[in-house]
Every structure is written in structure tokens, then in C-alpha cells.
């Protein structure tokens, strides 16, 4: 006989929900498809809309920050630079914002049917990854057009960077999705947080500008070791050839990324336990 509901033992609980999720792969796949299909249904441009937003952002930052504020002077291939950072950051922000709303948005299902509830934040990760892929292929296309396709060993930075982004976004996505059920303020807080995080990472300016202001103080370390900053730097290292030789990167970027990845995995485990503890009352709190 199987006991209904989540077991309370820490490790066994995580393991059994992992196994349960694995058995629901098809369900996850269908939910991701549903999200993607339903999002732009009945709109004439469809998926083009998912590109218009980042491209507009790119145009604004390129003109305002790059030309008017003259940030582009110290940064060669400024458009590629910004778009690399934006691509990385939009993966993170989309996972966080859509998984925060995922439990509340699927209230109809959660109140009526038992599914492992982790599946809804995970579906958000899936559809965000899909959008990321589109945006990333535009980025690759752009590098080819400019004639600076990054075929260098530095491409290896892509993997740990993406891993760090997804793992941290998933960890906080799980936590925020669960807390949002009980306090709807969270979703507004997340909007603000995402805006702050955009400017707290070297996306429209360069890391060396921060270093020049802060010097090599603990403050700089704090800024640099923000996982989003590390991942954005990793993306730039891999995809942005303009800075080769001239641009500055923090020391041991790869090591930092790997450590951040490990911390992220631990966070996922911890926040998943919080999620599992809170999910028992989802159906009645919604």
C-alpha cells in the first residue's frame, strides 16, 4: 500500500518526488506544449512577439545607454554585447516570473486533481528554455552576420553559465511559487526584483566599469559573485568576441561558475523541501 501525500523524511522525500516527476515526463511535455501553444494563440504574429520584446530592449539600450550615455565607447561590438547579456538574463527572469505565477495560474487543476505540484514550475522552466533557444539562435545569427562567430575554446563557458542560471532560477522559482499561494504580494515583489537584478549585472555596462569604481574591495567580490553576474560574464566570455584581449573578466571565472552551480543545486534541494512542506495546503489556499 502507498501512503497518500508527501513523505516527511528529507532525503527519501526528495528522491521519491524526483522519481514521481520522472514518471510524469509526458505530462510535463504536454504542459510545456500547452503553455507555448496557448500563449500566442489567435495572435497574427504568434511567436514573433517573443522576439519583439528583447529586440526592442536591445534597440533602446543600444541607442540610449550606448550612444547617448556613451557606454559603447569602451565596449566594441556593443550590440552583440548587450544582446548576449539580455539573452542570458531573459532566461533567468522568465523562469522566475512565470514559475512564481505557475501554481496560482493552474489553480483549477491543483484544486481538482492530484499531480506532483513541482511539475508546474518545471513546465515554466521548459517553456522559458524554448524561448531562450529562439533568442539564442538569433544571437548566433547576429554574430555570423557581423562576421564574428565565436568559434573559440571559450564556448565551453556556455554550459556552466546556463546551468547556473537554470538552477538558481528553478530554486527561487520553486520557493516563490509556493509562497505566492499564501501571499500574493510576492508576484509584485518579483517584478521589482527582476528589474533590479537587470541593472545589478553587467549587461548594458561592462564589469570593468564597476571594478574601476569599486576597486578590488569586498564590495566588488559581492557584486561579482552574484550568480546572475557570473553567468552573464560566462555568456559574454563565450559569445562576445569583441572583447577578446581588451575586456577584463574576474579571475577564476570557471571555478566561480562551478561553485555557484554547486550552491545552486543545494538551494534547489532546500527550496524543494520548503515547497513540499507548503504544497499540502495548496488546494485549500487557492
Amino acid at each position: 500500500m502507498v501512503v497518500v501525500g508527501a513523505p516527511s523524511h528529507v532525503l527519501r522525500g526528495t528522491w521519491s518526488s524526483f522519481r514521481e516527476l520522472l514518471s510524469q515526463r509526458e505530462m510535463l511535455d504536454l504542459l510545456i506544449r500547452r503553455d507555448l501553444k496557448a500563449r500566442y494563440k489567435d495572435s497574427a504574429l504568434g511567436f514573433v512577439w517573443s522576439l519583439i520584446r528583447p529586440l526592442t530592449q536591445l534597440a533602446i539600450y543600444y541607442v540610449v545607454v550606448g550612444q547617448f550615455l556613451q557606454a559603447a565607447r569602451g565596449i566594441p561590438d556593443f550590440a552583440i554585447y548587450i544582446f548576449t547579456g539580455l539573452t542570458a538574463y531573459s532566461l533567468f527572469s522568465e523562469i522566475i516570473s512565470s514559475s512564481t505565477g505557475s501554481i496560482v495560474g493552474n489553480a483549477g487543476l491543483i484544486k481538482k486533481i492530484y499531480l506532483p505540484r513541482e511539475i508546474f514550475p518545471l513546465a515554466s522552466v521548459g517553456s522559458a528554455l524554448f524561448n531562450f533557444m529562439i533568442q539564442f539562435s538569433i544571437l548566433v545569427l547576429a554574430t555570423i552576420v557581423v562576421g564574428k562567430f565565436p568559434l573559440t575554446p571559450d564556448l565551453v563557458y556556455l554550459l556552466p553559465s546556463m546551468f547556473v542560471l537554470v538552477v538558481f532560477a528553478l530554486a527561487f522559482g520553486l520557493l516563490l511559487a509556493a509562497v505566492n499561494v499564501y501571499m500574493r504580494d510576492v508576484q509584485y515583489l518579483v517584478e521589482v526584483g527582476i528589474m533590479v537584478m537587470l541593472w545589478a549585472s553587467p549587461i548594458v555596462y561592462s564589469w570593468s566599469m564597476v571594478r574601476d569604481v569599486a576597486g578590488s574591495s569586498p564590495l566588488l567580490e559581492l557584486y561579482t559573485n552574484n550568480p546572475v553576474t557570473l553567468a552573464v560574464l560566462g555568456f559574454q566570455q563565450a559569445m562576445w568576441l569583441g572583447g577578446d584581449g581588451t575586456a577584463a573578466y574576474p579571475e577564476h571565472l570557471m571555478l566561480r561558475l562551478l561553485i555557484a552551480g554547486a550552491v545552486g543545486v543545494v538551494l534547489v534541494l532546500i527550496f524543494h523541501r520548503v515547497f513540499a512542506r507548503l504544497q499540502g495546503n495548496f488546494a485549500q489556499a487557492l
Binding site: 501512503v3 509526458e26 501553444k37 484544486k111 486533481i113 492530484y114 499540502g280
Partner: protein, 416 residues
């Protein structure tokens, strides 16, 4: 266990394995009055306790459900039956206690839960089937059956937001019954749809029963419980009041409803000092038996009722009517139909109706009394002035009782 007439084939209960064990389950709901971050912070800690209220939806519920049985969960609104069903389905966790189960479970708490309005019928079939536990391959294999069972034809590739509510429900039900659960949880879904659709639902439930699946049914229709279920669990304010054969649980539940109704009535009548014509008291019993004893077939029913009229009454008629628990009129007669002229009176006046040779089906019946003037206008009414129960007869179901007898005539045509 006394077997209900609809399921005579089920084997004795004790030999079958348990599929669901509910062990001392309690569920507390905390009702909070502060829901935003600001209010939470303001009322943090000791103050916060004043802003919450505890409500026990279930208290120490223990029950065991055997494989292949059909169980009805009954009780009035707010008695905790839907909560219990959700705990069994894993949709909410109990505050204390545990539920264990065996086999694949499908919860039909709402038809079409998880339908996405912007997706087509076809896409929703796959999504909904996956939610109910079918793999993609299994769904593909059954897709044609599902589509033809639902009968929505070419609309299958239309977005479901354009469906009529009937098509929506039909498609949802088609998906639900084509999943292959060992345990089926059903909550009031049988109450929707037209009569033909309801019959389809009931037929499907019967075939599930015949296949030996376990069904847990929440419903307000006591007739359905008596008809479909082997056993029933009666809940009242979160406690199990009774667990046992369905017809006994139904009888007990009717008693509870009756007590509540009388309680409501006496409260209503408390502040009405104005003198109007009224029915003072009514009793009903079988000849030779006390009030409240069960009525057997062949008994003569004696209804005694006292009217009160403040002044001299007009020419009048007295009427009695018997309703079953569903409110359907089973029987009615009056002094007018008998061609009697009753005497005019002042103050109190008592009539006695004798209804001979009662042959009603099992269940609870209510006696309504009316006083009418010459034109048929009701002067005084006493709806459900008294009630009686008819003994359980296992040989037939329905409102009336006819003694059945079956003779086998063999192959068709042979005896004609």
C-alpha cells in the same frame, strides 16, 4: 453485510483485499482574515492569533474500503465529505493521520478540470488523459473511442472555448471514463447534464462495478446511494456517524435531516403570537403500533391531526398528502374527494384519516396536512407535519411495492 438488490453478485466483503485504509484522519482549516504581506506583518506573532480561526473539517475519521465495493459518502452540506474525498485523492494533505491506498486512482471531482479553453478538443483530450494518468500511446489507442463516445464529431479540432457547455461536458466525461482507474472518486459530477447523459454516466458506473473496480461516490441524491452503493459512510460535522450497508446509512441520514428540520421549524415558530388558523398537532402511526415504529406492508396507516381556528370556521375541507424523501407526491386524499361535508367549528377540531393496506417502497415518507375553504384556497398548511419509515424490503426498489415473482419461461417462442 446485507446485499443491496442491485449488486447481488459481489462476494462476501471480508475476503476481499483492502484498497483504501483511512487511519485516524483529521483535517483542520485555518481561516485567516489577514491575507496580504502588510497585514501579516502588522498582525505578526501573538496578535496574529486573533486573526485566525480553526475549523475542523474532519475529525478522527477511520475507515477501510475493500476492493470492488462501491461506497457512498453522504452527509449534509459542510459535513466534510468532499474534504474526505480530496484527502483520499491526495489533493489535500490531512493535518494528522494517514491514508494508504493501492492501485491507480482517478478523481472525477470536476469534469473538464484542466481543459484549456484556447486549445482544440484533440489537444485537450491528450492533456486531460495525461492528467488522469494515461500515457500518450494509451491515449492514441483510445482516441477514436473517446471521440465517438463524446459524439462531438468534427468539432474535435475546434478550440474548446467555442464548445457549448454540453459538448464540453461530454468530451470531458468521455476522457474520464476511458482512463483505466482501479479506484474512481466521483464528486457530484453525475448531477450535471441532461437525463440521457446522466443515464450514460450511471451505465458506465455500473460497468465499472461489474469489472470489479472500487468506486467512491459523493452525492446528495440518496436514491443514487441506495441504488448504486453497497456500503455508505455517513458524515456529520466531520465525524463518521455510521458506516455500513447503504440503505441503513441512508435511513440514519434521513433521521438527522429530520431532526435538523424540526429544529429549524421550532425556531421559526417561536415569535408568532398572532392568532391564525393553523394545524396544531399531527401524528402518524400504523394500527397496533406506536408512533415512530416502522410501517410494514399491509398495515393500516392512521393520521390524526388537530386544527385550530380562532373564530367560527367557514365551510372547509381537510386534506392529507404523503411525499417521499425526494419531495415527490406519493399519495393524497381529502374530505372533498370523499364527498364529505365537515362540521364548522370554533377552537380545536380533530380529524382522523385511516389509509388502509399500505404498500410503499422502503424509505422515509412525510405527511402534509392542509385545511382548505370551499373555493380550494389553503387556509392552513402543515408541510411535513409528521413522518414515518417503511421497513426495508430487499426484494424490490422504488416508491411503491408490488410483490415480485419470477418464472422462467425458457427460450423465446417455445411457450407461446
Amino acid at each position: 453485510m446485507i446485499e443491496s438488490p442491485m449488486t447481488p453478485l459481489s462476494p462476501p466483503a471480508d475476503t476481499r483485499p483492502d484498497v483504501i485504509v483511512i487511519n485516524d484522519v483529521s483535517k483542520r482549516f485555518v481561516i485567516r482574515k489577514d491575507n496580504s504581506l502588510k497585514e501579516r506583518l502588522v498582525t505578526l506573532g501573538r496578535l496574529g492569533r486573533r486573526h485566525r480561526e480553526d475549523f475542523w473539517a474532519l475529525r478522527n475519521v477511520t475507515a477501510t474500503i475493500k476492493a470492488g465495493t462501491t461506497i457512498g459518502l453522504i452527509g449534509h452540506n459542510g459535513s466534510g465529505k468532499s474534504t474526505l474525498l480530496k484527502v483520499i485523492g491526495g489533493i489535500i494533505d490531512p493535518t494528522s493521520g494517514s491514508v494508504s491506498r493501492r492501485g491507480r486512482i482517478a478523481a472525477l471531482l470536476e469534469l473538464g478540470a484542466g481543459f484549456h479553453p484556447d486549445l482544440t478538443g484533440r489537444e485537450n483530450v491528450f492533456l486531460n488523459a495525461a492528467i488522469l494518468g494515461l500515457s500518450r500511446k494509451e491515449t492514441e489507442a483510445r482516441f477514436d473511442d473517446i471521440a465517438s463516445f463524446s459524439g462531438i464529431g468534427d468539432f474535435i479540432d475546434t478550440q474548446v472555448k467555442f464548445y457549448s457547455s454540453g459538448m464540453y461536458v461530454r468530451l470531458a466525461f468521455a476522457v474520464a471514463v476511458h482512463t483505466d482507474p482501479d479506484i474512481l472518486l466521483v464528486d457530484e459530477v453525475l448531477a450535471v447534464g441532461d437525463e440521457a447523459f446522466q443515464r450514460k454516466c450511471l451505465d458506465k458506473i455500473r460497468s465499472f462495478q461489474a469489472e470489479g473496480r472500487t468506486i467512491i461516490l459523493v452525492t446528495h441524491s440518496l436514491g443514487q446511494v441506495a441504488e448504486l452503493c453497497d456500503r455508505a459512510i455517513l458524515l456529520n460535522r466531520g465525524n463518521v456517524v455510521f458506516e455500513g450497508p447503504a440503505h441503513e446509512a441512508v435511513a440514519q441520514f434521513r433521521d438527522i435531516l429530520e431532526e435538523r428540520r424540526i429544529g429549524d421549524l421550532s425556531e421559526e415558530n417561536a415569535g408568532a403570537p398572532v392568532e391564525v388558523p393553523r394545524v396544531v398537532a399531527t401524528t402518524v402511526h400504523a394500527r397496533g403500533k406506536g408512533v415512530g415504529e416502522r410501517v410494514e406492508h399491509g398495515d393500516d396507516l392512521i393520521v390524526t391531526t388537530t386544527f385550530h381556528h380562532p373564530g367560527l370556521s367557514p365551510e372547509w375541507f381537510g386534506a392529507v398528502q404523503i411525499d417521499n424523501s425526494a419531495g415527490q407526491v406519493v399519495y393524497g386524499t381529502s374530505s372533498r374527494l370523499l364527498g364529505m361535508n365537515l362540521s364548522r367549528f370554533t377552537g380545536e377540531w380533530t380529524l382522523q384519516f385511516t389509509l388502509k393496506d399500505v404498500r410503499l417502497g422502503t424509505g422515509k415518507y412525510f405527511v402534509n396536512i392542509s385545511m382548505m375553504d370551499e373555493s380550494g384556497r389553503h387556509v392552513a398548511d402543515a408541510p411535513q407535519a409528521a413522518a414515518f419509515d417503511v421497513l426495508y424490503y430487499p426484494r424490490a426498489v422504488g416508491t411503491s411495492y408490488l410483490e415480485p415473482e419470477i418464472v422462467e419461461l425458457g427460450a423465446a417462442g417455445a411457450s407461446r
